[in-house]
Subunit: 457 residues, 2 copies
């Protein structure tokens, strides 16, 4: 594992590979053992800290793996926000798991590029199989599986699947910001869109001569976990010939449990559906399932056929999937291996138990908040996200509460603003998060609030 | 490593993680030991083979890692195209290495998401440091490093960096295909663009009232490895206020050697430059460096600021880099760890030796082709890509030659068409490719050609 000779550098020598990789496995196993001891997020960091620690230029000569790992330990880890810390409740979870890691290792180690079928047939085919498996698990209609005329693809993120964050995407494809509609929601609908509001907005636009194009229904919004009524929105979309996308990035994982599949009711009216196994499905970053009812609509927009990618003497391959035409980029990773490994290793029943465990923790937290009259739950909890706040007119005390909780390094939560109210978000779903971490988080919130309220008297 | 209990599934239990990961390390070390024994590409594969082998649905209960690895070995590997096989000379190389793998393992294991600085400060900062290191190594002008007012970002691919394959990107952002100029090149310029041809095309468009927008100069084209004259094109771009992008996806790696930096002469006239360490720089998929002279131009187009990503009580972070605004997607991987690991482990000197070794192999192949009067080298070789063909008027014999070579499973090459001529591409650059593999490839080409020519008499 020492320095390597220049002239005979063997970057994939199996013995060096095994020794170096084992060192990294040990490093990571140790990291997981201690990850709850790191502050999350890293407190009091000054931008530019790492640049000061590192040299200005790459080293001229190679260094031993152990020395590099030492620098990761001393220079990098203290500056990270530890997403795998069981006390990480911010944003949405970003699951790592032994199986997700194993699948990703295989994908990275094999390092094939399944852009056209012939460039790695089994990789393209495993992808087609595994997106069908997922479509079945979350209860999607037949029109989204290959045998039903639809099909799926694994992309890197929802942004990629919907061709960039919805609003950014609209800007990129040249839709004037003025033609982009953000329809306000209220507490009455649990901060979900309503068919009526969307219909009114669309009809208003049509009356002004505009052409309605694309409607996004979100099942589990990032802000408060709201669920748009897919069927109602689908009826509006159908009437006006709009493309309906169902974004179930986070909550789609819950839909492997029958009790949550109702939220996808009406999905047969959608043109596309997406969800991210890398959030709450134990599949390390990155992995997003995108299903379309009519793959031809996708490939007609995204197909390219440069000479250097044409298959030679391979008539059969014409029937095979060239996934480059299902996405913007040409290059792509063998993500199917990872999702397949997770499904095989944990099984559908294991994944359901995993999801339900997190929901139970969030239910407990919700009950705890409701039982404390100083606090309120702001939007109805449906999955594992709880939105809450101190019952105060001024936002400042809630902002201070969140800042103080995070500054402790003992939990990390984020916020959202609904109807001008500052709301604290607790998103349960870490691979190592257990009931005791959620209990600790609540005690931390209560204790911190007490101090703040005391100071304010 | 056996089946896992449902109720107490511990997806990141350190001991299970270590045991399972070690099994995958052993699996991959064995794969690298035998990878030259696999046919490359897999011959006679029928589309749909894998789907027939796999069940229709995900398993209900989890399975042991060893069983899953057995299925990878028996079901998946025979259907892959083995990009790490030393006899893979197709497309461009897609380098794996022990260091690239180690860095990727760390990134995947830590599984942090550096979209905003506060979401993982050290990850964003390592990225900024490592793109500066790379800019220095390939000799980019100061305007592309952070201290010079520019800066870099790691994206997944050139397509992402130039916002989709150039032509696809134009279509996506609403530029009519009729306004997209593909300027023909000829043997006289080595199939590179010339300042004269570009100037004439631009002036012609301007005279018709069109507004020239974006010019892409390629250093090392995919087809034949041609090098566009960056300075000449830069002068045209400057005169007309066009954005000049320099795409050095493949050949940019060679620019770490001083003898190749001349190809980037004029880069100070460019607005952006990109190169892919995942091709020929031992950095496993995916990793693309994109540098811009004016980050504000990028962030003005791509910045979004939803409430749930706003930093709370963190004034200092305003000065930190939110890399989400440097790319289309919000989510992103900690790619810097991988590139940093490669640079540390192999050093600049090691990487230069690695690049030069491949170029020497390609030079040998070029000389061998030139020494055989039945063959010709079609475009001047500049890096590690050799384009050659049988000297025949009919393309068919060259098509048959390539098909027969690939059908042998003993080498994999691809093709291109220049001036209506079918050309075979041999791209040297695999991490395990040695001189003997290139010699074997040439013998295979010669022997196959002999048989074909004999049949045609």
């Amino acid at each position: 594992m020492g320095s390597l000779p220049l002239d005979t550098l063997q970057p994939l020598d199996p013995d060096t590979f095994a020794v170096d990789s084992s060192a990294v496995v040990d490093f990571l196993a140790g990291y997981y053992r201690d990850v709850d001891k790191y502050p999350v997020p890293a407190a009091d960091l000054e931008p530019g800290r790492l640049r000061k620690l590192l040299p200005d230029a790459a080293p001229e000569f190679g260094e031993p793996t152990e020395r590099i790992l030492d620098d990761v330990r001393h220079d990098v880890l203290p500056g990270l926000t530890h997403w795998q810390n069981p006390n990480f409740f911010a944003y949405f979870p970003m699951n790592a798991s032994a199986a997700g890691f194993a699948g990703e290792m295989l994908s990275v180690g094999l390092n094939v590029v399944p852009f056209v079928w012939v460039a790695s047939p089994a990789a393209a085919e495993l992808e087609a199989v595994v997106v069908d498996w997922m479509a079945r698990l979350v209860g999607l209609p037949d029109r989204f599986v290959f045998s039903g005329g639809g099909g799926g693809v694994l992309q890197g993120s929802t942004c990629e699947a919907t061709h960039a964050t919805f609003q950014k995407g609209a800007r990129l494809v040249g839709i004037p910001p003025a033609n982009f509609r953000v329809i306000p929601t209220t507490a009455a609908s649990g901060y979900a869109l309503t068919g009526g509001a969307v219909r009114a907005a669309v009809e208003d636009d049509v009356a002004r001569g505009l052409v309605p194009l694309y409607l996004c229904a979100t099942v589990g919004t990032t802000g408060v976990g709201a669920v748009d009524p897919v069927r109602e929105l689908g009826e509006v979309a159908c009437r006006h010939g709009m493309w309906l996308h169902v974004d179930a990035a986070y909550a789609g994982s819950a839909a492997i449990c029958p009790e949550y599949q109702g939220y996808l009711d009406g999905a047969e009216l959608a043109d596309s559906v997406s969800m991210n196994p890398h959030k709450w499905f134990l599949t390390n970053m990155d992995c997003c399932c995108l299903w379309v009812a009519s793959p031809a609509a996708l490939t007609a927009a995204l197909s390219t056929d440069p000479e250097y990618l044409k298959n030679v003497g391979d008539a059969a391959a014409a029937a095979a999937i060239d996934y480059k035409d299902w996405q913007i980029s040409l290059s792509r990773r063998f993500r199917a291996m990872k999702l397949w490994f997770v499904l095989r290793r944990y099984g559908a029943a294991g994944m359901r138990a995993y999801i339900r465990r997190h929901v139970a923790m969030a239910e407990w937290f919700e009950r705890a908040v409701n039982a404390d009259e100083r606090f309120e739950v702001v939007a109805q909890r449906r999955f594992s996200l709880v939105c809450f706040r101190l019952r105060r007119d001024d936002d400042m005390v809630n902002r201070e509460l969140l800042a103080a909780v995070n500054a402790s390094g003992r939990a990390f939560m984020t916020h959202f603003v609904v109807e001008s109210k500052f709301v604290i978000r607790l998103a349960v779903g870490g691979a190592m998060t257990e009931m005791r971490h959620v209990r600790d988080a609540w005690e931390l919130v209560q204790r911190t609030a007490e101090q703040l309220l005391l100071q304010r008297r």
